[in-house]
Symmetry: D2
Subunit: 303 residues, 4 copies
């Protein structure tokens, strides 16, 4: 099972495959139930980790992980943006039950200056922050749900863990629910900027491009924590090991790690793709919360 | 005294002149003491508001306001950057006595996406955040003072007042002192990006480009609050009224406000100047706290 | 008539008013015919300078100058973007007759790094460059008209006049028509980012934010030269003189110039507004050339 | 020899190794002479392709290719920037003999909006453009050599090949020499942003990140063409094939290309590294031309 740790991925759907490859098994391991379906014509793959045994096997906490394939968006298919937004909003709504009287707090993790790590803060810029409008102009904005938005930055720039900033602000302005947006690492270059993962487990230490050291989850925050992410980097050693396995080759995983160290690679076109990915996530989150608003309404609020 | 309200300025040195012009007086009003001196060859103008009467006259809280003229920097004079950094650091040190066992928290107010309002967050990016280094590698970084850095964003983007975010985080990671960096409004176009104002009064409601609604000061935060700012905008009506007074002309201030509404103008070259201003402020703040480090050391840490 | 030179404007409609104010006359001067009408619900003001006498009076070459008021766009009125694009495209089409066998060359003048001067290069990024598609994939792109796009940069960055770069490239890849996009200076702060001026006179030395030293017009280039611009800056002395005149005050224009030198001011929100203005101009230009494409088609090509 | 075409590299030093690996030979092939030395403490590797046979073997034109290892810069060693600038300037000076009466034309190839492809235009922004200063203020700037700077953009944005733009402008403002800056592809992730390649062969079709279709060399331009580049991307199939060879594994190169298509990857930290690389190249080019100026002088001119 060591391959799970030597091949780095934040996607549960990839972790399941890695487990099967390492254990030479197939189908769902004990404590894991996966299902596939379509939403708005997009492929959706849900992995439910139902027991601690399943959690150990996949190296991820018990909970639900939903991966939505946004290939149609990257390929500029007709109505792909609208369909992707609706699919994301639909799956998010199944994961959360916000209290209408308290704000939802949307958090964008990561470093805006490092493009592959900027999905969180870039998406946060396109989330409709409404709490202040509701309190100052209740008649005009009564149809909106209250939302607060925070981009805590990164430890190296702030000297404070993201989790500390979030819990400090959440103590001051208590939300009923956290939605945390982050960039992820995938195992395959082919998944970069092409899969959105939603989960109800929050953010686990060591996951995300941003390498969070502290968990941001129901246990640490005391409220439900939904996470939403998109893979933007691949660990170079993982990338190589993966293709070798694909070709049925044997290799020395330690040699790969020695050669590449902690080199992560991303797509050459990451500037454009990170911008597109942040937008589709933000609109999906907006649509899941502000159920009265159309995409055009969201455009109008953001302009 | 109505001119104080119709001509908008965040600079105490301009507020004093406005008071004198409106009251046709000269010298220091009651409760106000101003002094001029040089530091590192830069002109410095200090205004001490010592009583509530002085505070009312100038429309600013009791405290010390120090304006440093950074013209030599804009004119690219020799060693101007180093001299400006040293002058800012020197005056800041006179205003503050940080407790070495608790971090100084540096806050960059404003909206990074609006250039004239971006001085705070841009400067924050160049502040050495050290708290995490001191706790994780005390032997290596023992010579540094602990610093945390926060850019809370703006109400329209977060739904939360900057003051709420700051006090939430400060409750979680208590600092001994706040240093708040913000863009300011001046009365004269000629002052834009040319004067740095330091004060020990924090940030007053309605001041700053960012129009803070809540005070961030010793009373609201429970700790000393130093503010440091640089004017980047002029209210168009103020700009016009000011030049008319300068030429001895009479005019209808209401007509000016009707014509311009809340139009603020800035310099055509604000992109470059905001970047230069943010850097000199950040280095001045770094030098005032990390007294063991040279400018070259700060460069090295930031690279 | 000296006021025409002391109050700086690149808009013919303002130059006409300045002439009338200076000469205490009203209506159209000799050699000038102005008309007002609506297009797509937007106000349009055309100034035709028909003789050299008219040209001297307004300080602008003989030709047609059309100003379209895009207030509805700034105010986020319904369908304002589409209406403004159609109005710009409609007026542009009246000014030009491109040869379908040679490309239209679209030029974005100005410095991308100085926001108020970036309208030209920013708009150029949203012009559909099609010449290479037509030659490499004629079957697929046969419905498109050939277009080339150039952003020559600024003299200080290149060491070469924009006019030299354009004529060098035009000699190599001959266009039938030039469309030149540039930022302009207006006389009034209230016009900033709110009026689009089209003309068939190209770009005159000393005009534009960019202060071109060489003319880019039919005489220098040998082909029709359409210019399209939007005011983003006001000369600070002009701004002040203008409001003084407005209030019927007498003043010393030399004192204003002495006080402000060559200070230009712009709107505090110029980052957002320059982006919006560049987009509406680019789409208007695209729609005027690619008459088969809808706004949605243009969106698709640019994504 | 097919591996030379299936493993993509723009570095002559890597092409030589690929040839040797494919032909199971060692040392220099016929028509190729390589030498290693140090400059300013940096490792330098020169590959001279002296005959057409050598050119065929390495898949690159006859000429000199010098690779300078800038690891000390990436590792933030003491004085690394100054040493790298001097090493680049020293090797450039050996490759070129500019005519002091005609300008050197420096060209930044690539797309500024795609970070790994932005080295050329970013470096161009830091080249001292002096031609206009010399002609307008000869007394003040007499110590400078004349330089023009051009960033032609990319075909997809302009509809014109970079080579056409360059030759059009060069016909109008004739230079004695071209220096072309471009981003490159390397074979190994470990070389990304760590090696600067200089050559006297200009830019070959199909090379560069930017995939130039037309040669920019002495033959096409009629003047000496120096190129300077830095690898910022690796073809994903090459990356994988390379590590497999490294481990002595056999694989199906076609399967790799099928899996990855034209996916190029870059470093996660490319934003910061592209900025650093562009700066060191620009300063090296400036120092090679403006031999009277120190690094501090260049800083001053650029501020």
């Amino acid at each position: 099972m060591s391959l799970i740790y030597t091949k780095r991925t934040d996607l549960a759907v990839e972790a399941r495959d890695l487990y099967n490859e390492a254990s030479k098994s197939s189908g769902d391991p004990d404590g894991v139930i996966s299902t596939e379906f379509e939403s708005e014509g997009l492929k959706v793959h849900a992995v439910d980790i139902t027991t601690e045994i399943g959690a150990q096997k996949l190296g991820k906490p018990v909970g639900r992980y939903v991966t939505i394939d946004i290939d149609p968006l990257i390929n500029h298919e007709e109505n792909a943006f609208e369909r992707a937004v609706n699919a994301i909003a639909g799956e998010l709504k199944k994961l959360m039950q916000p209290d209408p009287n308290k704000p939802v707090m949307v958090v964008g993790l990561g470093n805006k200056e490092i493009t592959p790590d900027s999905i969180g803060p870039r998406a946060a810029e396109k989330i409709l922050a409404t709490r202040h409008l509701l309190s100052s102009m209740p008649n005009q904005f009564g149809m909106l749900k209250p939302v607060t938005v925070l981009s805590p930055g990164v430890l190296g720039m702030t000297g404070i863990e993201s989790g500390e900033i979030i819990s400090g602000v959440a103590a001051k302005v208590p939300p009923s629910l956290l939605i945390i947006i982050d960039a992820l690492a995938s195992r395959e270059a082919g998944r970069l900027c092409r899969s959105v993962q939603l989960s109800n487990t929050g953010v686990t230490p060591g996951s995300g491009v941003n390498n969070n050291r502290f968990a941001i989850n129901r246990q640490s925050m005391g409220i439900p924590c939904i996470s939403i992410g998109i893979p933007t980097v691949v660990d170079a050693a993982t990338l190589t090991a993966d293709i070798m396995d694909d070709q049925g080759l044997k290799y020395d995983i330690n040699a790969l790690h020695d050669k590449y160290g902690s080199t992560f690679v991303t797509l050459k076109e990451i500037d454009v793709q990170a911008s597109d990915c942040a937008k589709v996530i933000a609109y999906g989150v907006n649509a899941s919360i502000q159920t009265e608003l159309s995409i055009e309404d969201i455009d109008m609020f953001l302009s």
